[in-house]
């Protein structure tokens, strides 16, 4: 399979959007999903529980060096950046990036660096521009970019910024994102899918 990981970033309005997207993914979805949702530095497991309620996939808040698992939804914990490494996830508490920790850019860029063409980045609703740079990195290294159609987003600023930074991104209404991810996950091996470093 050409794709190895899906990274999804969202902020304001993200809970409802994430719940919708995850509820549309089938229980046998074959790729690991890494979610960065902006949240308060002291927020607890509630986010993970709310996402779990919406989906048949297993949702876990990430602990350091958790292995990436097919069909698992890995949620970035509050107050840590998350880095996608070959087959697992690392955490870091370095400074917030553009006021955010976790940062969507940091997560998506690491997906690009590690998985190259095998990375899929998704940017959903939000009230800042986090994610645009990371998505651009994914596309530069041959991966795929999907963006929630800003017109269907609760707050269009984040998807707007992503489309501006990545004009080649596929722009889809919320309800079309999960089916597209499923289709991508079924794409057969094409020449040159990069192995993880």
């Amino acid at each position: 399979m050409p794709y190895s990981v899906v990274g999804i970033g969202t902020s304001w309005g993200g809970l409802a959007a994430m719940r919708k997207l995850l509820s549309d993914l089938p229980a046998d979805f074959s790729l690991p999903v890494v979610v960065v949702q902006h949240r308060g530095k002291d927020s607890d497991q509630l986010l993970t529980e709310l996402l779990q309620d919406a989906t048949d996939l297993t949702v876990c808040e990430v602990e350091d060096k958790d292995p990436l698992m097919p069909g698992r939804v890995h949620v970035a914990p509050a107050n840590y950046h998350i880095l996608i490494e070959a087959g697992h996830l690392s955490l870091t508490i370095e400074e917030p990036v553009r006021f955010s920790r976790p940062s969507i850019d940091v997560m998506l860029s690491s997906a690009a660096d590690t998985y190259g063409k095998g990375a899929i980045g998704v940017v959903l609703t939000g009230a800042n521009e986090d994610g645009a740079r990371g998505l651009a990195d994914i596309v530069k290294l041959g991966g795929r970019a999907l963006v929630q159609d800003p017109r269907t987003a609760e707050i269009p600023i984040m998807p707007d910024a992503a489309v501006k930074a990545v004009p080649s991104a596929e722009v889809l209404p919320l309800e079309a994102l999960a089916p597209r991810l499923v289709a991508l996950s079924h794409e057969r091996e094409k020449a040159g899918a990069r192995r993880a470093v």
Binding site: T92, S109, I138, K140
Partner: protein
């Protein structure tokens, strides 16, 4: 290539992305780390790769360079560049009473154990600029245990240790720390512990009366004593799993039987060779007791 996001230059000095070869870059990074180890003795070879890579690129861009190899040339010939890089690679972000629940649980579940000891030895490994050390000293004092405690506070980085000794922290963070302190079960008024001085918050110097600050590298140095409590929070996340396991061996060897190990809130002992030797005292807080 995908430049680490914190450090994307606005100057158009971006490396040529079309020619980015991740496998080649990996070779360059491994060579650089090997060179640093052999020349300077700092061993970053088994650190978590994605984070090392981000930090290297931060330095590369700040120096106006364009490749890891170019940085290697500079670092190996210029000790000052090594010092800068050491600061980049040892990520020193920290705060007082980070994760208040950790300190709350420590008060509730560990303090009663410590009360049974005539003398308490603590090791703060990777203490950075010392915020955690002062937090623990305050907690121990409020519980009436400070006078029979000795805290060894160590870090790989000499510069941050100097700052820790000075005990001056940014005034603008005091509000956040006061809030953390209260939620951590603080018993007094946080402002009793510092005075505004030297452009910062100068902490009560008697808090470090029983603290020894010294340089210690978890990767290359040995155990130096036996402790009742070891705290190592948000340090092992920067290591790969093999190195984590090795450092857990060092902690195990340095802990007295029934001693306490405190980790960061998203760190675990899972898959570590020593997992079976510990009991988690009060989940979900990452406080473990050595039981075998």
């Amino acid at each position: 290539m995908a430049v680490p996001v914190a450090a994307v230059p606005s100057t158009g000095a971006e490396p040529d992305r079309q020619s980015f070869k991740p496998d080649l870059e990996r070779i360059e990074i491994e060579l650089l780390l090997e060179g640093i180890f052999r020349h300077y003795g700092f061993d970053f070879r088994a650190y978590a790769y994605a984070s090392i890579r981000r930090r290297l690129w931060k330095r590369i861009e700040e120096e106006g360079l364009s490749s890891v190899s170019a940085l290697q040339e500079r670092v190996l010939h210029d000790p000052e560049m090594m010092e800068k890089l050491l600061l980049d690679l040892s990520i020193n972000v920290t705060s007082m009473f980070r994760d208040p629940g950790f300190y709350q649980t420590f008060r509730e579940h560990v303090v009663p154990l410590l009360r049974t000891y005539p003398f308490i030895r603590l090791w703060h490994a990777g203490c950075s600029t010392g915020e955690e050390v002062y937090s623990m000293a305050i907690l121990l004092r409020e519980e009436g245990l400070y006078d029979r405690s000795r805290i060894y506070a160590t870090d790989i980085n000499e510069v941050v240790l100097q700052r820790a000794k000075a005990g001056i922290f940014p005034l603008e963070r005091m509000q956040e720390y006061t809030d953390n302190y209260m939620r951590a079960g603080g018993k007094r008024s946080f402002s009793e512990y510092y005075t505004a001085k030297y452009g910062g918050a100068l902490f009560d110097q008697s808090l470090t009366k029983n603290v020894v600050f010294s340089q210690h590298n978890l990767v290359t140095d040995r155990s130096f004593s036996e402790f009742n409590v070891i705290l190592c929070r948000n340090v092992l996340i920067y290591f790969d799993k093999t190195l984590q396991s090795k450092v857990h061996g060092l902690f195990y060897d340095s802990l007295a039987m029934f001693g306490v190990l405190g980790l960061g809130s998203k760190e675990t002992l899972r898959f570590m060779a020593h997992e079976e030797c510990y009991q988690q005292i009060a989940p979900p807080e990452k406080i473990f007791r050595k039981v075998r």
